[in-house]
Amino acid sequence: MKSLQRITFVDDEPDIREIVQLSLEQLGGFTMHLCESGPQALETAPIFHPDLFLLDVMMPGMNGIQTFRRLKEIPEIAGTPIVFMTAKAQTHEIERYHSLGAAGVIQKPFNPLTLPADIQAIWARSQCENRCAEGAGQT
């Protein structure tokens, strides 16, 4: 299984960007790419080429769902797993994110001390699902 190393995080709140960076760099050991808006992510993520996106839902201008759809249109990163991070996490909202094709959902408020493990678990699951899908395609 490919290891998770590079993460692009998109959130308009500076304090949240900072605590996620602190958690995922210092505790998780990941290389982080921080974006304050959807348009910034669309412009810079294809250059950074992350293994995974972590995407806030409620952002001014282009929201997380719109950003998600636009990221999926960029060939170089279309297959990159996207995890939503949101306080809008009622059952029907989580179902909607999954139906869009999200790899997972992290609910806000989240615990920065356990965030790296939560992200790793979602990554492992998405890798496993990809392998299963490839296996099914070969039979």
Partner: protein
């Protein structure tokens, strides 16, 4: 890591005070009629929603709970007619007072993540 976390907590302590102040100003403008009710409530709801997620993540659980209660109430008003919004402003004000108190009395040590 803990030093950086403490600095972030100290900074966030000031951020929540400013956000609560901005939220209160919006609610006042809706109350005094200088802002359209629907637009004001939507703006206030977005701020309450942000406070709920942000302060909870940075360990200020009391602020997060107060913001969640206000956020839930404002969400119900977002889809309502102007007359219903005006009728619901009393409860919004009461919930805001609790949030403002939690934000204004917050100290870095109030955060569950703060370590001396």
């Amino acid at each position: 890591m803990q030093d950086k976390l403490n600095q972030l907590i100290e900074k966030h302590c000031e951020t929540v005070k400013r956000s609560a102040e901005a939220l209160g100003a919006i609610l006042m403008r809706v109350e005094d009629g200088s802002m359209p009710p629907r637009a004001g409530i939507e703006e206030a709801e977005a701020l309450a929603h942000q406070l709920k997620g942000g302060s909870g993540t940075i360990g200020f659980h009391e602020i997060s709970r107060a913001a969640a209660a206000l956020d839930d109430h404002l969400k119900t008003l977002c889809a309502a007619q102007d007359t219903v919004i005006i009728a619901g402003m009393g409860k919004a004000a009461a919930l805001f007072v609790e949030l403002a108190h939690a934000a204004n009395t917050a100290r870095p040590r109030s955060s569950a993540l703060y370590a001396a």
